[in-house]
């Protein structure tokens, strides 16, 4: 299956999920309707889970986020809920490498369904191993057998690499991280969130000042569980989409369908001698080439931080100048990373759209109430209790 086929299949899955709102359109529909008046925007956020740090406190959260999988139960990846997940590669001297990914599991499932050989090669490449077996990727299912089907391969891949637990070491971080597995870091969750946020709504301002787009706190009763308050990601995405809907603008997810890593605050990191870490130590990958994006810009989905071999020190010898803390956790790097959701947007409708739903203005109050800290604390406690 070529890239075009992969994208078409993903587009089909998006279409299945977006039936709830006509304002989330397919990229092809937007292009044909609007000609050259399209605009591109990409709401962005950083990768450290803010809800988890708010609930647990920063120190406890950083530790929880890195709890490794034991191959049987939950891991810190379950807390990595900002559409980016990571793993640490350690040796006897400390953290050697940090690998982050925003790759959607759905993309890998489609590829596994139609091109299992490529998937196996890719997994080996990301694991930095000469080869991996099909069994490690597809379990007991023979992806090239005479009875293999796309549906069968996809299910086998999902069961082996995505979980629920246990997951293959080739995606749970023990040997590699290929794509996201946290249950809300999915294409389905993203589509549900977008569909819910793109309903045209407004808040009427007092004093005849007109109307404005509602904020996350005001939308929460209407969105239910599709958007989680307190995260870095969901409120940013919700408020941007709500604003676009308020303006009457159709929206499409940019092709290729992906969340991407726009940049990293590399200037914050210092070497042991106090020098600013060279930006080249951060490798943006998959895809990095501008031609992979309909916008002409690069849309990397993978980022690796590794100190070159000859330097004589490790990632864990680096210091974040903003906190004066040595790098001891993956979350400290995720915090520097800029994750984005590329969107294509049609022109603003003339005049304001007819209000579909009026929203009651709310003055921001206790923001801890809706965070679900009890559940997070409980899960963190379970991880900490593990030997």
């Amino acid at each position: 299956m070529g890239e075009g086929g992969l994208e078409a299949e993903l587009e089909r899955r998006v279409a299945e999920g977006r039936a709830a709102t006509p304002r989330l359109v397919g990229a092809s529909e937007l292009g044909s309707e609007q000609g050259s008046t399209l605009e591109r925007t990409a709401p962005d956020w950083t990768g450290l889970p803010l809800r988890v740090t708010a609930c647990l406190g920063r120190a406890r959260a950083l530790a929880a986020l890195d709890r490794p999988s034991d191959g049987r139960g939950a891991s810190g990846r379950d807390f990595q809920e900002e559409y980016v997940e990571w793993r640490l590669v350690r040796d006897e001297r400390g953290i050697r490498r940090v690998e982050l990914t925003t790759e959607l599991a759905d993309r890998w499932k489609v590829l596994a369904a139609h091109d299992p050989a490529t998937v196996v090669e890719l997994v080996a490449e990301l694991a930095r191993e000469p080869a991996v077996t099909a069994t490690e990727v597809f379990g007991d299912y023979d992806p090239s057998g005479p009875r293999a089907t796309p549906d069968g391969r996809e299910r086998a891949f999902a069961a082996t690499m995505l979980g629920p637990e246990p997951r293959s070491a080739l995606n749970d971080g023990r040997r590699a991280i290929c794509c996201m597995t946290q249950r809300t870091n999915s294409l389905g969750a993203l589509i549900s969130l977008a569909a819910a946020a793109l309903q045209p709504r407004s808040v009427t301002l007092s004093g005849g000042l007109g109307r404005r787009s509602p904020n996350m706190h005001e939308l929460q009763p209407l969105l239910g569980r599709v958007a989680q308050p307190g995260r870095a990601s969901d409120p940013i995405i919700v408020e941007r989409l709500a604003r676009l809907a308020f303006e009457g603008r159709p929206v499409a997810l940019e092709r290729p369908l992906a969340l991407c890593l726009l940049g990293v605050q590399s200037e914050r990191l210092r070497t042991p001698s106090g020098e600013v870490v060279p930006p080249e130590w951060f490798a943006f990958e998959r895809p990095g080439a501008p031609r992979d994006s309909s916008s002409g810009r690069g849309r990397p989905q993978r980022l690796t931080l590794e100190v070159p071999a000859g330097e004589g020190f490790r990632v864990s010898d680096l210091v974040d100048a903003a906190t004066e803390a040595p790098i001891r956790f993956g979350g400290q790097i995720a915090e520097l990373v800029q994750v984005a959701l590329p969107l294509v947007v049609g022109p603003e409708a003339p005049g304001r759209p007819a209000v579909v739903e009026a929203v009651t203005p709310v003055i921001s109050r206790d923001r801890m109430t809706a965070l679900g800290c009890e559940e997070i604390s409980h899960e963190a406690g379970r991880l900490e209790a593990r030997p």
Binding site: T41, L50, A232, I236, G263, V264, P279, A322
Partner: protein
């Protein structure tokens, strides 16, 4: 329950609806003397705050028993004086205070500003890098005499009672009724809406002693007015992101007769569009995206979105010197936020203010950002503002 009753933010942060910061400001930076004991250190701070509170009641230490009419004048002079106490990175520095003055945990982002560049695209103007201290005391009032006399009363108290303190530095500033800054553009127009501010500034209890407080970022930014005035108004407008005369946010650019990109003058707002006129929707014009107002608030999201990096700004201009050379003028950038990571993200993130000193397109090489040479840091520090508590904010830090 009114707003003041349901939070513990110290006076001096004017975030409630209808509040405007007083027009005069002074920041007093104070260090504890080497070897000061925690109890004595805490007692010294409590003494200072009590004396400042006495000023509001018209009581001056050296004028005990002055005639009622004069006491009334004194009370009038200091009537709206606020004193906000903040603690800096230096207080937690074991190299400066051995034994330590506090056993409380340092908030992670209360850190020294780095040596090389103060923050991302902002270079230091002076080698000494002033602005760090154990304690920052922010004084505000509508009368310059009030903040200046209050500062001197602090010095008198330290001297007279041999308090274990020294005044490290002092900075002053003023606000402008015309709501413009030294760049001649409107400044502070798109500050947070009042109903958003408490959510944006109220700190979580991490560490516990900071729950209900806030964090203060202070950057004394020198502005090279000669360089700024060498730019044509359209260039200035593209850097700022606003129309120079009306203050309206720019919404589009066009090519002029020479092929240069210039702003399209915004139309006056229609009824119901005032918010967009002040704070427009997200733009995709690369020049407008790179302007200051867009960089400083990329997401346009509310304070309910913690990833929006919203801060409440309460800055004051300064004029340090004016002689035959260009004036040494600038902005005391002061912001309050629920966590200082907000400031770090805004000033480091690509596409936000990372890699630029003010606005405009950034260079490809992050190590050498395009630098208009407009802004330098003359002093700066990051501070924790403890919540109100008895007997004084931050008392917990010095308790044994």
């Amino acid at each position: 329950m009114n707003l003041r009753a349901r939070h513990r933010i110290q006076p001096g942060v004017f975030f409630a609806a209808g509040e405007r910061p007083p027009s005069c400001w002074r920041l007093l930076l104070i260090d504890f003397r080497a070897g000061a004991a925690p109890q004595r250190a805490g007692a010294a701070l409590e003494r200072i705050l009590n004396v400042l509170a006495d000023l509001r009641g018209g009581r001056v230490r050296d004028l005990e028993g002055q005639p009622p009419k004069d006491a009334e004048a004194t009370a009038g002079q200091f009537a709206d004086l606020t004193a906000l106490l903040a603690v800096g990175r230096a207080l937690f520095d074991a190299d400066r205070h051995d034994p330590p003055l506090t056993r409380s945990q340092r908030p992670d982002y209360v850190a020294y500003l780095p040596r090389g560049r103060a923050l991302a695209g902002l270079p230091w103007a002076v080698a000494e890098r002033p602005g760090e201290a154990d304690i920052a005391l922010q004084l505000t009032a509508n009368c310059e005499a009030a903040v200046n006399c209050a500062a001197v009363e602090v010095w008198k108290l330290i001297t007279d009672e041999a308090l274990p303190l020294t005044i490290a530095a002092s900075f002053s500033g003023f606000s402008r009724p015309d709501r413009r800054g030294w760049l001649d553009f409107h400044d502070g127009v798109s500050n947070l809406e009042a109903d958003q501010r408490l959510a944006a500034i109220e700190a979580l209890p991490d560490p516990a002693w900071m729950g209900g407080g806030t964090y203060l970022a202070f950057l004394r930014l020198g502005i090279d007015l000669a360089t700024w005035r060498s730019l044509a108004p359209p260039e200035q407008e593209l850097l700022v992101g606003r129309d120079k005369l009306s203050g309206a946010a720019l919404r589009a650019t066009r090519s002029d007769a020479r092929g240069a990109r210039v702003p399209v003058t915004p139309e006056p707002p229609e009824a119901g569009d005032e918010l967009d006129w002040v704070d427009p929707p997200q733009t995709t014009d690369p020049l407008l995206e790179a302007s200051h107002i867009h960089r400083a608030n990329q997401s346009r999201a509310s304070a309910d979105a913690p990833g929006a990096w919203r801060m409440f700004r309460q800055g004051y201009d300064f004029l340090e010197t004016l002689g035959p050379e260009a004036p040494l003028a600038g902005l005391n950038f002061v912001s309050f936020q629920r966590d200082l990571s907000v400031v770090q993200h805004v000033l480091h993130l690509p596409g936000w203010l990372g890699g630029v000193d003010f606005g405009g397109l950034a260079g490809d090489d992050r190590a050498n950002p395009v630098d208009h040479g407009l802004v330098t840091v003359r002093a700066g520090g990051l501070y924790a503002v403890p919540p109100r508590e008895a007997p004084f904010p931050g008392a917990t830090l010095f308790a044994r």
